[in-house]
C-alpha cells in the first residue's frame, strides 16, 4: 500500500491540490478550506509523532544525485507544525476578516494562502538546492501578490518595492546555486556537503556570500530591512501574519539549513558579520518600534528586531555553546512564528474595533476587546522572552550559549533587546487600559480576537513543551552536521 515516508509528498501536494480545488469551487469553498485545514494539521502532527529520526522520500523514485528528495528531520518537522498552526489560524481569521465589502478579496485570498502553505511545506522539506530556489521564488511571488491584495496605492507600492528587492535576492541566490553546481557537479544537499568538505575551493566562499546575502535580503536583516515595515504593515492582517511568521522565517530556515549542511566548513568568516548585523537589527528594530505611532508598524519593526535575534544566533553557533545555540535558535524561531502571527491577528482585530491604525486610538480597548488585548499581551510576553513562554526558553538557551562561548557583548545586546521588546510591546498594552474617550465605536464581535488568542495561547503552551521539542532536535544538534 502507500509507502511509510509518503507523508512528506502528501504534506506538500495536499495543500497544493486543495488550492486548485478552491480555485474551482464557488460557494462551498469555505467548508473545503476548513476540512483541508484540519486534515493537513493532523498530518503535520503525524509527522511530529515520528520523533527525531529523519524521513526521506525520493520524488519520482530517482535516487539522490539524479532526482529530487524530500527530507524531514527534527528541525523541519517542528517548522512544519508551526506553519500548520499559523496557517490554520490565518485562514480561520481570513474567513471572518474578509466579510462584507472585502468578500471578493476573501475568495481570492483563500487559494493563494493555501498555495503559500504548500510552498512553505515544500521549502521546509526540500533536500535539493535548485528545488530550494524554486520554492523560495514561489513564496516570493505569492508574498508579493498577497501583500498587494488590498490593491490600495500604498499596498501596491510596498508590494512592488518588496518584489524588486526579492528579485535581486533570488538572482543572487540562483547565482550562488549556479556556482555551487559548477564547483560540485551535484544539487543534492548531502552530496554537496561531502564534496565541499572534500576540497573547499575559494569560489565556494563567493557562492556562500551570494546565497547568504540574498537570503538575508529576503529575511530583512538590518541594513536590508527597508521593505518589510511598509509591506507587512500595509497588508491585511491575515496576510501580514503569514508574511511575518512564515515567509521571512523561510529564508532564515534556508540559511540555517545551508549553514549546518553544505556550507558548514566555510562559515568561519561570515558568522561575526551576521552577528553584528543581527545585533544592530535588535537595537534598531526595537528603537524604531518604540517610536512608531501606527500599531501595525510597531509589530512590523518588532519582526525586524526578532529576525535580528535569529541572525545574531548564527555567531553563537561555535565552540562550547553550539548545541544550546542551535536549540535556542529553533525555539526562538518557532516561538516567534506563533507569537508574531498572534500579534498581527490581534492588531488587526483592534484596528477593526478602533476604526484607526494609531496606537492612541486604542484607549479603552481592554474593556471592549478583551480577547484581542489578552492575545496582544500574551504574544508580547512571548516575544519579550518572559517566562513561562517558549520565547523565554529560546532566549535562555541563546543566553546560555553566549555565556559558554564567552561572548559578553552578544549577551548584553540580547538582554537589552528583551528589555526593549518588553517596553514597546507593553507600552501598547498599557494604552488599552486607559478609559475609552468616545463611546461610539464600530461594535464588532470577539471572533477576530478569539482566533488571535488561540494562537497566542499556543505560544504560551509551547513554553511547557520545550523538552519534547528539544528531544526532536537532539539528533540535529549533537552531530552538528547534516544527518
Amino acid at each position: 500500500m502507500i509507502r511509510s515516508d509518503a507523508l512528506l509528498p502528501i504534506l506538500v501536494m495536499l495543500p497544493l491540490s486543495l488550492a486548485l480545488l478552491l480555485l474551482l469551487s464557488g460557494r462551498w469553498g469555505r467548508f473545503l478550506s476548513l476540512a483541508g485545514m484540519v486534515l493537513t494539521t493532523a498530518l503535520a502532527a503525524l509527522l511530529l509523532s515520528h520523533g527525531g529520526q529523519p524521513l526521506h522520500h525520493a520524488m519520482g523514485g530517482w535516487p539522490a544525485p539524479l532526482g529530487i528528495g524530500l527530507r524531514a528531520d527534527g528541525l523541519a518537522t517542528l517548522m512544519v507544525m508551526m506553519t500548520a498552526l499559523v496557517c490554520s489560524a490565518a485562514l480561520i481569521y481570513g474567513e471572518y476578516w474578509f466579510d462584507g465589502a472585502k468578500a471578493e478579496q476573501g475568495r481570492q485570498f483563500r487559494p493563494l494562502a493555501w498555495l503559500l502553505w504548500a510552498g512553505v511545506n515544500a521549502l521546509l522539506l526540500a533536500d535539493d538546492l535548485f528545488n530550494l530556489y524554486v520554492t523560495l521564488e514561489l513564496l516570493t511571488l505569492l508574498a508579493a501578490g498577497l501583500a498587494a491584495l488590498m490593491a490600495t496605492q500604498a499596498a501596491l507600492t510596498a508590494a512592488l518595492r518588496y518584489l524588486m528587492v526579492a528579485l535581486i535576492a533570488s538572482t543572487a541566490f540562483l547565482l550562488g546555486v549556479a556556482l555551487l553546481y559548477g564547483a560540485t557537479g551535484t544539487l543534492a544537499l548531502e552530496l554537496i556537503s561531502i564534496r565541499v568538505a572534500a576540497n573547499p575551493q575559494p569560489v565556494l566562499v563567493v557562492a556562500m556570500a551570494l546565497m547568504v546575502g540574498g537570503l538575508a535580503l529576503k529575511a530583512a536583516l538590518f541594513p536590508l530591512h527597508g521593505w518589510l515595515p511598509p509591506a507587512h504593515g500595509g497588508a491585511a492582517p491575515p496576510v501580514s501574519a503569514l508574511l511575518s511568521a512564515l515567509v521571512v522565517k523561510a529564508s532564515f530556515y534556508v540559511v540555517l539549513r545551508l549553514w549546518m549542511g553544505p556550507l558548514a566548513p566555510l562559515t568561519g568568516g561570515v558568522g561575526p558579520v551576521l552577528g553584528v548585523l543581527g545585533g544592530m537589527a535588535i537595537v534598531w528594530g526595537g528603537w524604531q518600534a518604540l517610536r512608531q505611532h501606527n500599531l501595525k508598524m510597531v509589530v512590523a519593526y518588532s519582526t525586524v528586531a526578532q529576525m535580528g535575534y535569529l541572525f545574531l544566533a548564527f555567531d553563537l553557533l561555535q565552540g562550547a555553546g553550539y548545541a544550546s545555540a542551535l536549540n535556542g535558535m529553533v525555539l526562538q524561531a518557532v516561538a516567534h512564528g506563533l507569537a508574531k502571527g498572534a500579534m498581527f491577528l490581534a492588531a488587526g482585530a483592534l484596528v477593526v474595533a478602533a476604526g484607526g491604525y494609531r496606537v492612541d486610538q486604542l484607549q479603552g480597548m481592554a474593556s471592549r476587546q478583551p480577547l484581542a488585548v489578552t492575545a496582544l499581551a500574551v504574544a508580547g510576553i512571548s516575544l519579550a522572552g518572559m517566562p513561562p513562554t517558549a520565547g523565554f526558553a529560546g532566549k535562555w538557551l541563546l543566553l546560555q550559549a553566549a555565556w559558554l562561548n564567552g561572548q559578553w557583548l552578544w549577551l548584553a545586546v540580547m538582554l537589552a533587546g528583551s528589555l526593549l521588546t518588553a517596553s514597546y510591546l507593553l507600552k501598547v498594552v498599557a494604552v488599552t487600559f486607559l478609559p475609552a474617550p468616545v463611546a461610539a465605536s464600530v461594535g464588532c464581535g470577539q471572533r477576530l480576537g478569539g482566533v488571535a488568542l488561540m494562537l497566542a495561547l499556543l505560544a504560551l503552551l509551547a513554553g511547557f513543551a520545550v523538552m519534547p521539542m528539544l528531544q526532536l532536535l537532539a539528533p540535529v544538534a549533537t552531530t552538528g552536521g547534516w544527518l
Binding site: 510576553i381 543566553l399 498599557a430
Partner: protein
C-alpha cells in the same frame, strides 16, 4: 494523594480560578465570589495537608522538565510553608475585603482574574524548589501585578505602572544574569538547607560575591531596599486591596523571601558570612529602615506614609538575615509573617477610611475614632504592633532581632532598632492621637456609606481588618503556642543552622 499532585493543586487552584473568572461575564458576581472563595479554601486545605506531611519529617517535592539542565521543582519544606500559609490566609481575607471594597466598581472581572494569578505567582515563589523556578514565578509576579497597579486606568495610575515595570523588569534582568551565571558554575541550583554554593572551589570566591550582589540586587527591587524603592510609594495609586496585597503579602514579601532563600538555601548562611557579604547587607538594611521611617514622617497622605513604613519594615527581615546567628534568623523569619498581618490590617483600615468617609490625607483623620470605632481599634492595634509595643506581633520580632544583634555582637543594630521604634512611634502615634483624642472639625470629605446605628461601614469591609488585628494580638500574646509563627520560625532556624 501523591505529594506531586498535592503541590501542583496548591499552586494551580488559584490559576484555574483566575482563568475561569476571566471567562465569566462581568455581571456574574455570585459565581465569581464563589470561585474566589472556593479556590482560597482549597488552597488552605492543601497547605494544611502538606503541613501535616512536613511535620512528620517528610519533604514533598515534584520535578517537571522545563529547560535542558534546569527543570521546574516545587518543594514544600518548612521555610516555604511559612510564606505559603501566610499568603494563602491573607489572600482569603483580602479577597473578602476586595469583594466588599469593589462593590459596584467597573472591571471587577479583570481585577479578580489577575488577583488570582498574582497569588498563584506568590504561591509558586513560596514553593519554588530551585533558583530557576523561583525566577520564573518572580517574573510572573511582575506581569500579574502590573494590571492590578494600573487597574484604575487614570494617567497617574499608568505612570505609576510604568515606573513599577521599569524597576521590576530591570530587577528581573539583573536576577536573570545572576541565575544564569550561577547556573554555569554549579549546574542546576536546588535549594537545600545550609546552601549549595559552598561545594565550589575557593577560586570562585570573587565570582560568588558578584553573583550574590546580582541576585540580591535583583530581589532587592521588589523588597524595596532604599536605592530601589522608588516604585512603592508611586504604586499607592492602586485600589486599597491591591496595595494591601502588594505590600503586605505578595510583592514586597516575595522580595524579602527571595533574600532569605538566597542567603540560607543557595549560599548557606555560614558560607555567606565567610564571604563577608552579610555586613554590607546589614548596613543596607539599616539605611533602608531609617530612611523609610524618616520619609514616612514627612508624608501627608495616609497611604504614602504606610508605603514608606513598609519600606522600612521589610528591611527588618533582611536585617534579620544579615545578622549572622540563629536568634536574628528567627527574628527575621517571624517578622516576615508579623509584618504581613500588621501591614495588611493598616491598609484595610486605610481602605475603609477612604471607601467610607473619603479620607486620604492625615489631617482629615480628626475624630474618626468616634465615627468608626471598630476600624480605628484595628488601626490602633496595627500601629502599636508596628511600633513594637509588647503583647503585639511587632514586639516579638523586634525582641528577637535585638537578641540576634547582641549574639552577633553588632551593637549598633541595637540602637538602630531603638531609633526606628521611636521613629515609628513618631509617625504612628499622631495618627492615633488625631483619631481618638481630636474632635471632628470639618465634615467628612465624601461619605459614601452613611452611618447606620449598628454598623459603621459594610460588613465585608469591617470583618477583615478585625480578623487580622486579632491575629496581630494573638501572634504577640500567644507567641509560644504550638502553631504560632514564632515556633515555626524556630523550627526553620534549627534546620538552617546545622549543629
Amino acid at each position: 494523594m501523591s505529594d506531586a499532585a498535592l503541590l501542583l493543586i496548591t499552586v494551580s487552584c488559584s490559576l484555574v480560578g483566575g482563568i475561569v473568572i476571566f471567562l465569566l461575564p462581568e455581571q456574574q458576581r455570585g459565581w465569581r465570589t464563589a470561585i474566589n472563595l472556593g479556590a482560597a479554601l482549597i488552597k488552605i486545605l492543601c497547605l494544611l495537608l502538606i503541613v501535616g506531611a512536613v511535620l512528620n519529617g517528610q519533604v514533598l517535592s515534584v520535578r517537571l522538565p522545563f529547560l535542558p539542565g534546569a527543570d521546574l521543582v516545587l518543594r514544600a519544606d518548612a521555610m516555604s510553608l511559612l510564606f505559603a500559609i501566610l499568603s494563602a490566609l491573607l489572600w482569603l481575607v483580602t479577597t473578602i475585603y476586595a469583594i466588599g471594597y469593589l462593590e459596584g466598581a467597573p472591571h471587577r472581572r479583570r481585577f479578580f482574574g489577575f488577583f488570582s494569578l498574582c497569588v498563584t505567582a506568590t504561591m509558586g515563589i513560596a514553593l519554588a524548589g530551585n533558583l530557576i523556578t523561583f525566577f520564573l514565578f518572580y517574573e510572573l509576579l511582575t506581569l500579574t501585578t502590573y494590571p492590578l497597579v494600573v487597574h484604575r486606568g487614570t494617567p497617574k495610575a499608568l505612570a505609576a505602572g510604568r515606573r513599577y515595570l521599569a524597576y521590576t523588569l530591570v530587577g528581573g534582568v539583573v536576577l536573570l544574569t545572576g541565575v544564569l551565571w550561577l547556573q554555569q558554575l554549579l549546574g542546576s541550583v536546588d535549594f537545600s538547607h545550609g546552601g549549595v554554593v559552598s561545594v565550589l572551589a575557593d577560586s570562585h570566591r570573587p565570582a560568588l560575591v558578584a553573583i550574590f550582589a546580582l541576585l540580591i540586587g535583583g530581589v532587592a527591587v521588589k523588597a524595596a531596599v532604599v536605592p530601589l524603592h522608588g516604585w512603592l510609594p508611586e504604586a499607592m495609586v492602586a485600589p486599597a486591596p491591591v496595595s494591601a496585597l502588594l505590600h503586605a503579602v505578595a510583592v514586597v514579601k516575595a522580595g524579602a523571601f527571595g533574600v532569605v532563600r538566597i542567603c540560607y538555601d543557595v549560599f548557606g548562611i555560614e558560607y555567606a558570612a565567610s564571604l563577608g557579604v552579610l555586613q554590607p547587607l546589614a548596613v543596607m538594611a539599616g539605611v533602608t529602615i531609617l530612611w523609610g521611617s524618616l520619609r514616612a514622617l514627612v508624608q501627608s497622605d495616609l497611604k504614602r506614609r504606610l508605603a514608606y513604613s513598609t519600606i522600612s519594615q521589610a528591611s527588618y527581615i533582611i536585617l534579620g538575615v544579615a545578622l549572622f546567628g540563629p536568634l536574628a534568623t528567627i527574628g527575621g523569619l517571624v517578622h516576615l509573617v508579623h509584618q504581613g498581618i500588621m501591614k495588611i490590617t493598616l491598609f484595610f483600615c486605610a481602605g475603609n477610611y477612604a471607601e467610607t468617609l473619603g479620607i486620604h490625607a492625615i489631617d482629615q483623620l480628626d475624630g474618626v475614632g468616634q465615627r468608626m470605632p471598630l476600624t480605628t481599634v484595628a488601626f490602633t492595634i496595627g500601629a502599636l504592633g508596628m511600633i513594637g509595643v509588647p503583647a503585639t506581633a511587632g514586639f516579638v520580632s523586634k525582641w528577637y532581632l535585638g537578641q540576634g544583634a547582641l549574639a552577633a555582637d553588632m551593637g549598633w543594630v541595637l540602637w538602630l532598632l531603638l531609633a526606628s521604634s521611636l521613629l515609628n512611634a513618631a509617625y504612628f502615634l499622631p495618627l492615633l492621637h488625631r483619631a481618638w483624642f481630636r474632635v471632628q472639625r470639618q465634615p467628612w470629605p465624601e461619605e459614601h456609606i452613611p452611618r447606620r446605628p449598628g454598623r459603621e461601614t459594610s460588613l465585608l469591609l469591617l470583618l477583615p481588618p478585625l480578623v487580622t488585628a486579632l491575629s496581630v494580638v494573638m501572634a504577640g500574646l500567644w507567641a509560644g503556642a504550638p502553631f504560632s509563627p514564632l515556633v515555626w520560625a524556630q523550627l526553620i532556624t534549627a534546620l538552617e543552622y546545622r549543629p
